[in-house]
């Protein structure tokens, strides 16, 4: 066999000759090869089917959690809406972006969708710090935006996120050094079972809460503002985590559905190929025997 790397000029010729020789010379070998490949595709199909079933059963629970948490988060944000809170535009103040992904892959493009959203934002306004929940987005964003990352959490998304998770994360975020004008939580918004898009929830700083136009109607004491801020952050995080989790599960269901379908198609194709090749081998053996027999008869 010619070394292809060493003699690029001969590559075309070598490729043609090997292609011409291969089918007739290798029928016996490929029969076994095809069998092996069929077996491995069947195993993969089994795995993807099982994962799909697991994801389907998890999906209903995750969706229930999502609708509950969404209502919860929206109610909590109602305060800010009626107070007409807006982020304070301050000089030298950074924005904190919290990305809600999870630890597990095999669920289509939902993690890279979030990463792309962050990268696009980084192009227009590079002054923000990143807090990343989940391993997947961490590894993706550490390649491009490593300088912006201040915290990353792992262990997210094993099960339906609990409010305790959100509270612990909120506590860590509050402890971060440095003043942030606002906290923006990026998560996957669930539109329907097959589509979702990156969206943001805003959580405000104490200063912007105090400066909001209609805030005095709530009659909240000044000293309680930091509590409200922490609690609001935990509420929004919980909402984002639960909705992101539901998106991930439904995306995994779809991805596994497609994978099983593709595996099924491949199995059909290989089964036909396998049968044809076996038939060809039998025919050629018969031809050999018959020609051998007629030749010895003549003698």
């Amino acid at each position: 066999m010619l070394s292809r790397a060493a003699r690029p000029a001969l590559r075309a010729g070598a490729a043609v000759s090997s292609r011409a020789v291969a089918p007739s010379a290798a029928t016996f070998a490929t029969l076994r090869e095809i069998e092996g490949r069929l077996k491995s595709i069947r195993n993969i199909e089994k795995i993807t089917k099982t994962m799909k079933i697991v994801a389907s059963t998890k999906l209903t629970r995750a969706q229930r959690g999502m609708t509950e948490s969404r209502k919860y988060g929206e109610t909590s944000n109602e305060v800010y809406k009626s107070a007409e809170t807006a982020a304070v535009e301050g000089e030298g103040k950074k924005k904190l972006v919290v990305v809600c992904s999870s630890d597990k892959g095999l669920c289509g493009g939902i993690h890279s969708g979030l990463s792309r959203f962050i990268r696009r934002q980084a192009l227009t306004d590079a002054k923000f710090d990143l807090v990343i929940l989940g391993e997947k987005c961490r590894s993706q964003l550490s390649r491009t935006n490593a300088k912006n990352i201040v915290l990353s959490f792992s262990g997210v998304g094993k099960d339906i996120p609990t409010f305790a998770d959100a509270q612990a994360i909120a506590d860590q975020i509050v402890q971060l050094p440095g003043e942030y004008s606002e906290v923006e939580i990026v998560y996957n918004k669930f539109i329907n079972a097959t589509s979702y898009e990156p969206a943001t929830i805003e959580a405000f700083s104490e200063e912007s809460l105090a400066n909001s136009p209609n805030f005095s109607t709530f009659e909240v004491e000044e000293s309680q503002l930091s509590n409200l801020r922490e609690y609001g952050l935990a509420n929004s995080l919980y909402w984002a985590l639960a909705e992101g989790h539901a998106c991930e599960i439904s995306a995994r269901r779809n991805a596994m559905d497609n994978a099983s379908k593709n595996a099924g198609e491949m199995i059909n194709k290989y089964q036909i190929l396998f049968n044809r090749t076996r038939q060809a081998v039998i025919t050629s053996e018969l031809v050999e025997i018959i020609t051998g027999a007629t030749a010895s008869e003549d003698m």
Binding site: A168, I169, D171
Partner: protein, 75 residues
């Protein structure tokens, strides 16, 4: 006037978590098991400085350390 939990260095979220835990523990056994699963938290976090990843730590431990530190500072 600052509340007792604030003087003890807890954040509002921690205060809520402790209160929720007490309520969960006072439930009847069958309900309690389901409810306590909602209170579990097992996260790890990593601090980053200048694009470099630090050592992973448990969030629960780090939070507890922060509370005691603040309690000592305020008392």
């Amino acid at each position: 006037m600052t509340a007792a939990w604030k003087a003890a260095g807890l954040t509002y979220n921690r205060y809520l978590a402790v209160a929720a835990r007490v309520v969960r523990r006072s439930l009847k056994d069958d309900k309690r098991l389901a409810a306590e699963r909602r209170g579990e938290m097992d996260l790890k976090f990593t601090k980053w400085t200048n694009g470099k990843q630090g050592e992973p730590q448990s969030v629960a431990d780090a939070n507890a350390a922060a509370y005691t530190e603040r309690a000592n500072a305020s008392s």
